[in-house]
């Protein structure tokens, strides 16, 4: 087996005195889709926010342990550099309201003063929107504000914005929970396409979704990683009682 893109060892995260993540160990292989599941408050969102170091932006939030991206210690990297390698899509669509669709896609370049020629910009915008399955819907309205789009389109715009930076890992924090079933289906299809080129970690409350789109599933409970295995194993033959109870809907 090739070496994992992300290695998590004895990782802990805190809010003040409160320990949110307890001794997490996990290996994420390249070009796989991981579903992160668990009941509310189990630390799954905190876990993925630790990967691109968004966790530490909250007052009192700290983390310890080791997390390596391609062998490089995440917590020794410059967060700005790290976040260009680890893209994130949030629960609610958050396109920049002052920018057009076009500018939203290349926002990562514009805001960082990375100079691009017109043709480079056009190319990045087109390929990113195509990868996010939004190109056909917006190709004629690229210079309208991104906030005029529907919620599902806005979310795909946010995915395109993340993809434009060519990240190595894409984090989806309940990216479909605020969307209607049609938009959700589109984004699930998209995840299926994207895993050819990206490694994806998605937090989800929706077990069917996890079963449909992920290769592997990690089950968190009360800040601990209870079980991590192939999605098929987790759903058909979980080793832990807690996982089994959760999958069957006994709690959550």
């Amino acid at each position: 087996m090739e070496s994992p893109i992300l290695t998590v060892r004895n990782f802990n995260a805190f809010f003040g005195e409160n320990q949110i993540l307890k001794n997490i160990n996990l290996d994420i292989a390249q070009h796989q889709v991981w579903a992160i599941m668990g009941p509310s408050g189990c630390g799954k969102t905190t876990f993925i926010r630790c990967i691109n170091r968004m966790h530490e932006l909250i007052a009192n939030a700290t983390a310890s342990g080791s997390m390596q991206l391609n062998g490089e210690e995440v917590y020794d990297m410059n967060p700005v550099v790290l976040r260009r390698k680890v893209g994130m899509v949030f629960q609610r669509p958050n396109p920049f309201p002052t920018m057009s669709i076009y500018d939203n896609v290349i926002a990562g370049y514009l805001l960082n003063n990375i100079k691009l020629s017109k043709s480079q910009k056009d190319e990045i915008v087109e390929t990113s929107l195509q990868r996010a399955a939004l190109w056909r819907e917006v190709s004629s309205t690229l210079h309208k504000k991104g906030t005029f789009l529907s919620g599902g389109q806005q979310q795909r715009l946010c995915i395109a914005r993340a993809l434009a930076m060519n990240p190595e890992i894409l984090l989806l924090d309940e990216a479909t929970s605020a969307l209607d079933p049609v938009s959700t289906a589109k984004i699930e299809e998209l995840i299926h396409e994207l895993k050819k080129e990206y490694t994806i970690l998605m937090v989800t409350h929706n077990m069917q979704q996890a079963a449909r789109v992920s290769d592997n599933t990690a089950f968190f409970y009360l800040g601990e990683l209870v079980e991590a295995d192939s999605t098929k194993t987790i759903f058909t033959n979980p080793k832990h009682e807690k996982t089994q109870d959760y999958i069957r809907g006994h709690f959550g």
Partner: protein, 296 residues
């Protein structure tokens, strides 16, 4: 029992009709009171405006705008120097107050729980409540005396100090309304913090901040007291901000308290000019609010 109340009251249909009619009457009465109270508050305001316009319109003319005041005894004369003075004094106070106010506003919106922010907020609240004449005296002590004389610059400082609280507050409140996810979206793209603030958060809140700035200008444009000991006033046209300078509220004060009929007319004209300027600023702020409204 309560649920059956309707059925038990003898002639229920007529009873219900009466009750509905009573409610409708109460609704009408309530509406009448609200409209009456609103009129009561609005009519005096309109009367003030009407009176100023009636008195001022006769004074207002091209000559009034471009001429200097004439000495007592001569008819005519205008307020050109006061108009230029008002604009110049405001311009300098804007240059000082806007950047400082916005920067402090950004700080307060970001550092919600720090000690410094707490005291800063307290200071802003107190500053907002300081009478304008006291600000005039303070600037007299701090700027006029050390500089060795009255100057438009010291007047600008007094007005800038008065503008600060409104600019700080409106910036802070506007930025606090911007969802945290907007900031996270930028940071997650690998945008450094300062660029996130300057290029994402500030532009998103721009319309709110500008509205606050314009309203703070319209608040101080008519301030007289802080200018009495600072800009002082001058009968001459000057653009040198180190010299005393006239301004619209100052000539209104001087002319209105004079015994000459002709000067009273000029004071009314200047009052109207001032009100027109404030009206214009308010219209501009409304346009900015509508046109640059950011939808999340």
């Amino acid at each position: 029992m309560k649920a059956n109340h309707w059925k038990e009251t003898g002639n229920s249909k007529a009873e219900i009709g009466r009750q509905i009619a009573l409610r409708n009457r109460k609704n009408k009465w309530f509406k009448g009171v609200i409209i009456g109270a609103t009129l009561l508050a609005t009519v005096p305001l309109l009367l003030i405006l009407f009176y100023i316009f009636k008195q001022g319109i006769s004074a207002l003319s091209w000559d009034f705008l471009v001429n200097l005041p004439k000495p007592v005894g001569e008819t005519g004369g205008g307020v050109a120097n006061a108009l230029v003075g008002s604009i110049l004094i405001l311009l300098v106070s804007c240059i000082v107050a806007i950047p400082v106010g916005i920067i402090i506003g950004i700080y307060l919106s970001e550092a919600t729980s720090s000690k410094l922010a707490y005291y800063c907020r307290l200071a802003v609240d107190v500053l907002q409540g300081i009478p304008s004449i006291v600000i005039g005296i303070i600037i007299y002590e701090w700027v006029v005396r050390p500089m060795g004389g009255f100057s438009a610059f010291s007047g600008s400082m007094a007005l800038a100090l008065m503008m600060l609280p409104a600019i700080i507050k409106s910036t802070e409140e506007t930025l606090k309304l911007i969802p945290r996810t907007m900031k996270e979206a930028a940071l997650a793209l690998g945008v450094p913090y300062y660029k996130t603030m300057l290029k994402v958060i500030l532009p998103t809140g721009l319309s709110g901040i500008l509205t606050g700035v314009i309203l703070s200008i319209s608040r101080v444009i008519g301030e007289t007291a802080p200018l009495l000991f600072t800009a002082f006033g001058s009968p001459f046209m000057t653009t040198d901000i180190s010299k005393p300078m006239s301004s619209l509220p100052l000539i209104i004060f001087n002319y209105a308290t004079s015994p000459y009929e002709d000067w009273h007319r000029l004071a009314w004209g200047a009052s109207m000019l001032l009100i027109l300027m404030i009206l214009m600023l308010n219209i501009i702020s409304k346009i900015i609010q509508r046109k640059w409204k950011v939808q999340f």
